[in-house]
Symmetry: C2
Subunit: 253 residues, 2 copies
DNA sequence: TCAACAGAGTGGTATTGACCACTTGCGGTC
DNA sequence: GACCGCAAGTGGTCAATACCACTCTGTTGA
């Protein structure tokens, strides 16, 4: 059901349908399933499987007795495993990062538990601002074992995405993680950094990220401006799996 | 692909597989797809379609060459189309509802836009507290066209789930909706009602719900205590569709 | 002129049969 | 006893076909 890694007729069909979607344009119907199965030389079942995925991902809508139509593109990215940098690029904005501080300390009890390491392990703590088109969007505190990222400098992080650095320089591929989201209000430091009034509503994100070997790579604590972000979920009685939320950047002002 | 509303072999198969899952227990394999297709008297493809859904919803895991196994149950409910009442029952808590006010006014510009009705349409506005095991969890403001729910009383809402009432008494079946989530802080009224300090962090949920004919049924504005709820998301580099968040009730204190 | 109807076309469901890729365990071999 | 390899069983993919329920449209009838 999930997209296969190997080249399969279903995945080929998917790609060719995506091409067709662009050709026909938003709001229009793509050829019928039977027509597609003839045109693409695959069975209708294969066509349906490919369309199923595209429908579930929100690119197409089916109307029984009528046809399958190209949906208008989503306005926002899914709340998923993308870095802030990637995310902003996809939204068509210029991402930025300003490193406020980079310190090394021992983990201590709390961080040790978060990162699954000994409390005496040395940890790099990086505090940085996240910018979009020059405007401050969030303040992020990154915690990572020093042994994983030797020689990391503040400017590294302003020039590259952290995940990019992990992958290319340190050979660490992240595969998943857990994220919790809470409402909070900004404190003095956060308000000053974000340029919002004291005690403004904000999202508190906490994320732990895992590598391929199931080791915990990082623990990130982020404060996102509540006046610039909101979460949007499409609810669905029939198909409970469709409740994938998107993290939406609001209009300014 | 989506669960059908009519009785279908696939939905029957789904139910019978769920029975089997309970019988075999967490961690164990259920019978093979071929075996199930014989036992249940349906084709293997139908079995697969039913299993697909259960896998996507996280109840089963498939291991190629090995079998299909019962996953351990999720710790929390998905952020989905369940009513507060259903939700609390599933968490093993006793839901409660205390109606604070029930008024009827004209929609006006803003509500008219939210509900897709004329600004002069008469709207029932219900304000009520949501309780779990006697403790106040949220304050909810419900907006619904008066013509949809004639004769609705405050006590109705304390004795039944609103969705239950809609379905049984008014014959309105809800099929989906859109929900937005923002961080906020409680105002004087909300703080008093929830029993938290003034300006406490909270989640602001806004939901519009659609009926079968795509008409908008309700617009709900809810304030959830930030000290009792958090959102949890499992992130996944490989399968982007799997980022379904859960709305977790925190430990008290 | 307009409403009702019939038919063609669409997605939704289901069957049967086949082959592939992978896991596992059994049995033979060294 | 330890190791290797093979075969059986599993999920993954795909084909060809059939019928149902629904939508839309063009035609027919009043």
């Amino acid at each position: 059901m999930t997209t296969p890694q190997r080249i399969t007729k279903q995945s080929q069909t998917r790609e060719r349908v995506i091409d067709l979607m662009e050709r026909f344009g938003v709001g229009n119907a793509i050829p019928s399933e039977r027509q597609l199965s003839v045109d693409l030389g695959v069975s209708r079942l294969t066509v349906r499987a490919a369309l199923d995925d595209l429908v579930r991902e929100g690119y197409l809508v089916r109307r029984r007795g009528s046809g399958t139509f190209v949906r208008e593109p989503k306005i926002a990215q899914e709340l998923t495993m993308t870095s802030f940098s990637e995310d902003m690029v996809q939204r068509g904005m210029r991402p930025g990062s300003k490193t406020l501080s980079l310190t090394v300390t021992t983990a201590g009890a709390y961080l040790g538990r978060c990162l699954h390491v000994s409390p005496s392990e040395r940890i790099v703590i990086v505090k940085r601002l996240r910018l979009a088109d020059g405007e401050t969007m969030a303040i992020e505190t990154l915690h990572v074992r020093e042994s994983l990222v030797p020689g990391l400098t503040p400017t590294d992080l302003e020039e590259h995405s952290f995940y990019e650095l992990l992958a290319t320089r340190y050979g660490i591929v992240t595969v998943g993680g857990t994220q919790t989201i809470e409402p909070t209000v900004t404190n003095e430091e956060e308000s000053a950094a974000l340029g919002v009034p004291l005690h403004s509503p904000a999202f508190l994100f906490e994320r732990t990220t895992r590598a391929e070997n199931d080791e915990i790579v990082e623990f990130v604590h982020s404060i996102y401006r509540g006046d610039r972000y909101r979460l949007v979920t499409e609810l669905n009685r029939r198909d409970r799996a469709g409740a994938t939320p998107v993290f939406v950047l609001r209009d300014a002002g």
